[in-house]
Amino acid sequence: MTERLHVGTRKGLFEIVRRNDGWDIAEVRFLGDPVTAVLADGNNIYAGLDLGHFGAKLWRREGSNEWQELPAPAFPPKPEDADDDPHPWSLGKIWGIEPGGVPGRLWIGTMPGGLFRSDDGGESWALNEALWRRPERKKWMGVAGGEQPGISNVLVDPRNPADIRLGVSTAGVWASTDTGMTWDLINQGMYNEYMPPEHAGDPIAQDVHCLARCAADPASMWCQHHNGVFRSEDRGATWHEVTAIRPSKFGFAVVAHPRDAGTAWFVPAVKDERRVPADGAVVVARTRDGGESFEVLRQGLPQRHAYDLVWRHGLAVDDSGECLALGSTSGGLWISEDGGDSWATLDARLPPISVVRFAAA
């Protein structure tokens, strides 16, 4: 089981460690700065910051060394033939930092929808032009009423680093089987209720809030979509709705069990107009049978007048599948060491949490 958790918040990065008497904050870094993405990759930790006035930044800590700023991913000069591009050619936000499956390789998903790759541990970055130059990208829609679409998930098959799936808000599921040389929009079977009826089923119109992929069985994927929960057993090509989810089908986060393809966790909320937990109670929904049924897990989570929302990256599972972390927009942090059956509250009032990420065991 893992011993260390990284928590990115609106006001800094918190390192939480497991002690004999429970989990506690061991270190605070970037206090005051919004942290939008975190990755613990081997001995390295990466943090994406959104400094607002001064742009998105990337930092790395190697082992026990001091944190060091790295060059942030940057878009190439915008060519004249791109005048009709509705999205800026400038980094808006680092939304996901993911390991690439080979030493030194990392992927970064961003707003406004650029995918970047590094092969030197983050020292330098190149825009994936194959995806960025796809004409369909101009149809990508902004996140949460904002102007910029975003790549929220970059999921690399642990056994085949050439096989990548992207979750895009809002543009469906994109796939590459050649390390990003070519891309295809692959998702069939989802629907988007807030689109005009004739476009509700368009693959590119799907509001994929979060994608998850079973590490041991990468064909098994889960999607927390704006309109509900979907499941794919063919690497994201075809999806069917998981209607057994409860207490509600809206939400942002999903994580997949690293070994058991039938197990996944969600954090349901009341959709659209309110975006709060159902009945003011924070719950986690767990399926262990591929979405046929769900248990609603409440033990240790606030059940009265709790209005904590959990964003896309606010739920994490460790490599064992036993340890989970849940971080909310109200700064609540809960950790489970028994697969979600019970949760312990961190005794702190953190800033709004955008991302929780376990270190490797």
Binding site: F54, G55, P77, S90
Partner: protein, 89 residues
């Protein structure tokens, strides 16, 4: 030579003392500073070299007109200030 000074908000991320530089335009003057401190460029300009939306540049207290090309002329004794536009909470 014109002087370039930066908001104290930037000093939190890196030391940027006032500097006297050669340059006939805002762009040219800033480029001299960025050449000696490459990481600073991304704090002031976006990926296309345009002034970030929440950063302002003044010449002797007057807001520059050209935020895209930074072509406003600067004279030998001018003072260029790079400020943040305060927002957020």
């Amino acid at each position: 030579m014109p002087t370039v000074a930066f908001t104290s908000a930037l000093q939190r991320f890196m030391p940027v003392p006032p500097t006297s530089v050669e340059g006939a335009t805002v762009r040219a003057a800033l480029n001299v500073v960025f050449a000696s401190r490459p990481a600073l460029r991304g704090y002031v300009l976006d990926d296309q070299g345009v002034l970030r939306r929440h950063v302002n540049v003044f010449i002797n207290g007057e807001l520059v007109r050209d935020r895209v090309h930074l072509s406003d002329a600067v004279a030998r004794d001018d003072e260029i200030y790079v400020f943040q536009a305060l927002t957020g909470g």
